[in-house]
Amino acid sequence: MKRAERIALYGQGKEYRRRLLADVVRDRWLFLLLLPGFVYFILFKYVPMWGVVISFENYVPYDGVFGSQWVGLKWFRYFFSNKAWTRYLSNTLILSLLNIVFYFPAPIILALLLNEVRSVKYKKLVQTFLYVPHFISIVIVVSITLVMFSSGGIVYRLTEQLLGHPIKYMTDPNLFRGMIIGQTIWKETGWGTIIFLAALTNVDTQLYEAAMVDGAGRLRRLWHITLPAIRSTIVLMLILRMGSVLDTGYDHLILMANSLNRKASQTLDVFVYQQGLQQAQYSYASAVGLMKSVVSIILVVSSNKIAHLMGEEGLY
């Protein structure tokens, strides 16, 4: 909005302030509603952000943020001067990519399948069962996996009998990522359908009827009506996902890792956990964490840009 237009609309100087005040008084309840959320973000998201200064210090908790020695970019140099960082970054990126390719579409496909179920009662029942795994702790999921997939477990024995040789699910580094993605899909797919099912309820049923009259089969209707209708939701979810795509989590990976498959489990999150919590290297860990966040912001901004270019609304 140009300055002249703005002045014409809201006035200038005293006049502007008077109108603003009048607006605020008129919408006081709306502002009041806004307040808790506003305070929350300031208090819990913006204030702690100043903590990143410890990435540039040799932070010792007792000396405090202001008392610790300033070391500039030392920790960043440390990280990049070491050959190991490429392994951490590539492990993170590979796992993230697999997550996007295999896990991200899973809830969409499942939601579309559920949408085709005719009996409402059956659909509700299936949905309930699908949500259960989400509430199971990852520790339990890993324990169940261990029982089923390690030697002597039912899956291990079954594959051994079918193939004639065993597959070392729990110790082969090449299978590590597959196991992680598999567990994520098992645990979270059902829960992930919620948002897509909600989007699906907005599809105008008249469109289906019209398409049926025109002789469109189920697949055609899916392709030409359902998918375009939820496309913006999918894009939105994908962009949101890009923000956390580098978050591989550390608990799941640490639980699944052992001496034989560890090289596939070493991601940036695991590194931050090991350095920051287990070794009390707060500064070093925050430096690596900060770097990860910068990459995440770049991913979100660029994917939002791409969405705009594709003619979607995007995140903002």
């Binding site: 908790p61 007792y62 070491n82 190991a84 001496s259 034989l260 590194f271 090991q274």
Partner: protein, 514 residues
């Protein structure tokens, strides 16, 4: 009538206010908060009206506020506790003199003036502990009271009854005899194994055998005063090959990598494996478990520490450097209160204090029997009958609720005094354990870098250590061969190992030049 009632009520109020004021006027106890690892997370520790805590207060004037944190996640909790210095407990039990400790010494009081003051603190500054105090120092200052541990403590123990069944009745004295024993145990049956190994703690197993072969303990120093890592010694590879050979002939569970140390004891108790390289006090614990649960009456375990190499020399890996962990006094304690706190820690090291922390109180958590030995239940419930065993369990269960994990505050600077007056019932294995620890202490190989600092090690050490131990496990379980193992060692050098070597060498030479 109303007036009278009002008067009475007013009188009651006034009285209660007065009595409240009276309580306040009485001497406030000196409260010390202390954070300890909890080994009994499933038991509710009694805090109010606990006779043990009351006794401590009576003797020292200190009211302990004990904060127990699960041992399994103690390291993580410690790091977060230290991150908020203003709310740290007054005393913290540290699991070791590790990176976390060294990084945070600013948050603890320098105890150097106290731990060498023999006149004022006879127990804390006891002669027996002076050298260890020096060994725990950071930049020449003592920041914590060490918690002493039996030394060298680690070794080899095995099922002697199974060994006899496969034809070996003599306790091994040389590495060759150990090999023969391991091979024989491996051949005992199809679904049992010779050596009990677990995936998440392989350091002990590997260290016991590699140091016995002649490798240094983690770091070694050559004749020119240069520091080198254990894996650069040929004996280290010999040790790994020994384990690999055992793995190949079926002497180690092919699936051991996914087994965790929480199952370690069970593997032996269910008769799945017969030998373990670990802390040798497990030998008598396992023996006692078999006696109690399996009705075993014979001695079925044997333990040993030193093994002769081909040239007749003996080297062994000590599980610790004479201490494991420290108790620190954080700066949440006022400086003027420090002597009072040190007096309390001094008492904890006395006979009285050690007895209280380790055994509790007589006729409350322990009983002296007619023969002068100390037990965790009274003599009148002794016996093997079902009824008596149930009663004994009642006593031991109740003891745990009173004692919890307060024994984690034991420092034992003057050594363990608890058995001096009323010894606990002994057994041949317990005696052998104690005798072995004394006999083989002189053969223990110490880590020359334990008190040195390397900046690169502080930053990358844990990652690099994992790299080495993973490679060792992969080599043992035949996933990689010798060339691949050596390429991992190469990778270790490139990712910071060379720097650590240089930094340790400089620190070592500086320390020895003084």
């Amino acid at each position: 009538m109303k007036k009278l009632l009002a008067l009475v009520l007013a009188a009651i109020m006034a009285l209660s206010v007065m009595s409240f004021a009276g309580a306040e006027a009485a001497e406030e106890p000196f409260v010390l908060s202390v954070m300890l690892p909890d080994f009994y997370t499933d038991v509710e520790f009694v805090r109010e009206g606990n006779p043990l805590l009351d006794y401590i207060q009576e003797q020292t004037g200190v009211k302990l506020d004990i904060q127990l944190q699960a041992n399994s996640s103690y390291g993580d909790i410690l790091a977060t506790t230290l991150a908020t210095p203003e709310s740290m407990p007054n005393l913290i039990s540290f699991p070791g003199r590790d990176n976390t400790f060294v990084q945070n010494v600013n948050a603890f009081w320098d105890l150097t003036p106290y731990v060498f003051d023999t006149a004022t603190y006879p127990w804390l500054a006891n002669e027996a502990g002076l050298n260890i105090h020096k060994a725990t120092a950071v930049n020449g200052k003592v920041y914590g009271v060490f918690r002493s541990r039996a030394f060298p403590r680690a070794g080899i123990y095995y099922r002697s009854d199974i060994a006899a069944k496969v034809g070996i009745t003599k306790e091994p004295e040389t590495i060759e005899e150990l090999t023969a024993l391991a091979e024989a145990l491996a051949g005992y049956s199809e679904d049992t194994y010779a050596l009990n190994m677990v995936g998440n703690y392989t350091a002990g197993t590997i260290n016991v055998i590699t140091v016995a072969m002649g490798a240094p303990n983690t770091w070694g120093v050559d004749e020119n005063g240069n520091v080198y890592p254990a894996h650069e010694s040929p004996a280290y590879l010999e040790g790994l090959k020994w384990l690999r050979h055992l793995y190949e002939i079926g002497g180690i569970d092919p699936n051991f990598v996914t087994v965790t140390s929480s199952d370690w004891d069970n593997i032996e108790r269910t008769g799945k494996a017969f030998m373990r390289f670990d802390c040798n006090d497990n030998a008598h614990r396992q023996q006692e478990w078999f006696e109690k649960n399996e009705g075993v009456t014979e001695q079925i375990f044997e333990e040993l520490i030193g093994l002769k190499k081909a040239d007749g020399s003996i080297t062994c890996w000590p599980q610790n450097a004479g201490y494991a962990g420290l108790v620190v006094v954080t700066k949440t304690v006022k400086e003027e209160d420090l002597p009072k706190v040190m007096k309390f820690l001094d008492w904890c090291n006395s006979y009285d204090g050690q007895m209280l922390l380790n055994a509790g109180l007589e006729n409350v958590t322990y009983w002296i029997w007619a023969d002068g030995t100390r037990h965790v239940y009274p003599e009148d419930v002794a016996g093997d009958s079902e009824e008596m065993v149930a009663k004994q369990k009642e006593y031991t269960d109740r003891n745990v609720t009173l004692q919890g994990s307060i024994n984690q505050l034991t420092m034992g600077v003057p050594g363990d005094l608890t058995s001096s007056k009323y010894p606990t019932a002994s057994s041949p294995l317990r005696d052998e354990y104690a005798a072995n620890n004394i006999e083989f202490a002189k053969y223990a190989v110490l880590n020359p870098c334990a008190t040195l600092t390397s900046e690169t090690y502080t930053a990358f050490g844990s990652t690099l250590d994992t790299l080495l131990s993973d490679a060792a496990v992969q080599f043992i379980s035949c996933v990689i061969d010798e060339d691949e193992l050596k390429s991992v060692w190469e990778q270790w050098s490139e990712e910071g190992g060379e720097q650590i070597k240089a930094e340790y060498t400089a620190a070592y030479q500086a320390a020895n030049a003084q």
